[in-house]
């Protein structure tokens, strides 16, 4: 039994305990609030009706809300309105997709990486949301705590290093720089910018648009139409200025007034407005000493803007692109030079040889910008015709000068003495004077009516094809040129029957590599020739090439020259009546 006084004391004591407990709790609530506010991460608590019940200081600042009380009154959807919120791949995110809202609906919620762009300022942030459910008295989720981690710096760094790595690969992958730049531009949208275009300066200082990309192909039509309004580059503004000064231009805020002043007329202005340009960044494509073009990045529908660090990043891309363009151009020039030189070493076109049909082909080695060492020529001496085919060891300018020496020496020598072995001896003597060990194989033939005289200097012998399918070598082997002074070579004369052909070629044919490093070889060539022995020279030539291409694996490793001559026996009058059946095919335009 207790006294009433005791009861009163107990009640008082309980009140005291409760008061102390309340104080202690409110103190901890405050301490908790202070602790949460000190955190760099934004933290929110979302409750019933998706309303936000609490946000720490960082979260309030992020949302631009003055106090927790204000936050509690706010419509949760309205809080998201100032932002464009998307996933990494550009899909829009709504309030229902937020992890906290999912937990409140009793669903599971994985952490969510999202991009927020403040519609008014264009500021872009990357945030990771991680939500934890808070169970109520009956075990159901009555609120959810979200930790919002700002990964903007990390995400941008990751995107950029990925982009640079990929762009670097693209730029190094090909010498077709137009296509490569188009690929780089496509890679830049939409992660780096909404639009990306690349322009180069042509040799007259004019604008050469190379690439324009947007993630939505439909929008590209606007760009195409805009092109029609572009005039000359203006060195005082925009692209023209970047090209002229080699300095980047950042237009952080594109106002409507700016569009009005830039537009050439109402239609142009309408288009410019349709693009919805928000910010523009133009950086030069520079190589040491000059600007070769410019890269333009435009932000529009994503509402993003550019910051100073974007300029440095874009300049990095542009530097790589510029180097790729320059390398490809240098290579192209060198290639063109090599081809021009090569053409100078081959006859422009084959002459019409009375009584003969002739076709010849020179194919430089694959993807090569050097002058090859193969050559052929055909020229008249009185009523006879001289044929020369050869192969100089080596490549490049050195080989070209030897080729030139061999061809011209042969032509000159034949004026004095057209016997093939003598012609070769003169070329040999000329090469002997060249240091060190200038080697060259050559085959010289003299066509005199139906008689062919042949001498070889280390060169594969001519193959004679009869229309009945016989293939046989004519002539005999002789020492290659430049190896030993005063080497003796023998010449042989054979009589051709009408319809018979001669095939002469360089070792690029027989040495061609197939699968398993098998060589094309003489056997295969002979078999092929047996099948096509009664075809005209141009067809024989084409069939040899077809067969080679079928056989060959990988790029053509060596130069190849082939000459086919068929004796028609028609004589002078015959030729005069018909079309000249002579053809030089594809002289070095790979």
């Amino acid at each position: 039994m207790s006294e009433p006084g005791e009861r009163g004391a107990l009640a008082r004591e309980r009140e005291q305990v409760l008061r102390e407990l309340r104080e202690a709790l409110s103190g901890s609530e405050q301490r908790l609030a202070v602790t949460l506010d000190a955190l760099g991460e934004a933290i929110t608590i979302r409750g019933e009706g998706d309303r936000l019940m609490y946000a720490n200081k960082a979260a309030l600042e992020r949302m631009g809300v003055g106090s927790v009380a204000e936050l509690r009154k706010a419509d949760p959807r309205a809080l998201l309105d100032p932002y464009l919120i998307t996933t990494e791949d550009g899909r829009e995110i709504h309030i229902e997709d937020l992890p906290s809202a999912r937990l409140l609906r009793g669903e599971d919620a994985e952490p969510l990486l999202m991009r927020t762009v403040h519609r008014a300022s264009g500021e872009e942030r990357w945030v990771l949301l991680k939500a934890t459910p808070v169970p109520g008295p009956h075990g159901e989720v009555d609120s959810a705590v979200t930790i919002i981690e700002d990964l903007t710096v990390e995400h941008r760094a990751a995107v950029r290093s990925r982009f640079l790595a990929r762009a670097g690969q693209l730029l190094a992958s090909s010498l077709d720089y137009e296509q490569t730049l188009r690929n780089v531009a496509s890679l830049a949208v939409p992660q780096i910018a909404d639009w990306c275009s690349i322009d180069l300066l042509d040799e007259h200082g004019g604008r050469e648009p190379v690439a324009i990309a947007h993630s939505d192909p439909a929008r590209l039509a606007i760009a195409e139409r805009l092109r029609e309004f572009e005039g000359e580059l203006d060195p005082t503004r925009g692209l023209g200025r970047v090209m002229a000064t080699g300095e980047s231009q950042l237009y952080g805020e594109i106002s409507d007034e700016l569009l009005v002043s830039a537009a050439s007329g109402p239609e142009h202005l309408e288009l410019l407005r349709a693009v919805g340009i928000r910010a523009v960044l133009i950086v030069p494509l520079r190589v040491p000493g000059r600007t070769v073009g410019a890269l333009t990045l435009v932000q529009s529908e994503s509402s993003r803007s550019f910051e100073e660090e974007d300029v440095a990043f874009a300049e990095q891309i542009a530097t790589r692109a510029a180097l790729a363009v320059e390398n490809a151009r240098l290579y192209r020039e060198r290639s063109e030079m090599a081809h021009t030189l090569q053409r100078s070493l081959l006859p422009d076109e084959l002459p019409a040889v009375p009584g003969w049909e002739v076709a010849a082909l020179y194919r430089p080695a694959g993807e090569n910008s050097e002058v090859g060492g193969d050559f052929y020529d055909i020229w008249p001496i009185a009523d006879d015709w001289m044929v020369l085919i050869g192969d100089v060891t080596g490549k490049g300018v050195g080989a070209a000068s030897l080729t030139s020496l061999a061809r011209h020496t042969a032509a000159t020598a034949s004026e004095f003495d057209p016997r093939p072995a003598r012609v070769l001896a003169r070329v040999d003597a000329a090469l002997q004077r060249r240091p060190p060990l200038a080697l060259c194989t050559a085959l010289c033939m003299r066509l005199k009516g139906d008689v062919v005289t042949v001498a070889s200097a280390g060169h594969p012998l001519p193959l004679r094809l009869s229309p009945q399918g016989q293939v046989s070598e004519i002539g005999r082997y002789g020492l290659l040129l430049g190896a030993e002074a005063d080497a003796q070579r023998v010449e042989d004369a054979v009589q051709m029957r009408p319809g018979e052909s001669l095939v002469v070629l360089t070792d690029g044919v027989t040495d061609a590599l197939g699968a398993g490093r098998e060589r094309y070889g003489e056997e295969r060539l002979r078999e092929r020739l047996e099948e096509i022995c009664d075809e005209p020279p141009l067809v024989v030539l084409q069939r040899i090439i077809d067969s080679l291409e079928n056989f060959q694996v990988g790029p053509q490793a060596d130069d190849t020259a082939i000459l086919v001559a068929r004796y028609s026996g028609a004589g002078q009058e015959g030729v005069a009546q018909q079309e000249p059946q002579t053809a030089a095919v594809g002289a070095a335009d790979g």
Binding site: L437, L439, S456, G458, Y477, L479, A483, D507, R517, G521
Partner: protein
């Protein structure tokens, strides 16, 4: 293009130097033969034998090195011998006419062909 296989082994005993080649002697491998030969010749052997009996292919770059060695031997007064290659490789020597100038032997230890 994938490079063909090429092997080279050098040995020297007394005044005799020997290089044994296998695989493909072409533009890619010819410089290796050149370097190996020059290294062996630093020992001033009386005789250098290049054994090409295991060679499967030779091109003009390979021939060029052998011709160079042949000429140098004539100039400097040492013996240069080449062990006869297989048929398909010998054909290249015949086309180039060099087979008439080089001294072929039938085996590394062999003297002049019978």
């Amino acid at each position: 293009m994938e490079a063909g296989s090429f092997e080279i082994r050098g040995e020297q005993e007394g005044g005799q130097a020997r290089l044994s080649l296998g695989g493909e002697l072409d533009l890619a491998s010819a410089p290796r033969l050149q370097r190996s030969a020059e290294k062996l010749l630093e020992g001033e052997p009386r005789r250098l034998v290049v054994d090409i009996s295991d060679l499967s292919f030779i091109d003009s770059s390979g021939l060029r090195v052998l011709i160079g060695l042949h000429e140098r031997a004539l100039r400097e007064g040492w013996e240069f011998r080449v062990v006869r290659p297989p048929e398909q490789v010998l054909k290249i020597f015949q086309i180039s006419g060099i087979d008439q100038h080089l001294r072929f032997i039938d085996a590394p230890g062999a003297e002049e062909p019978a």
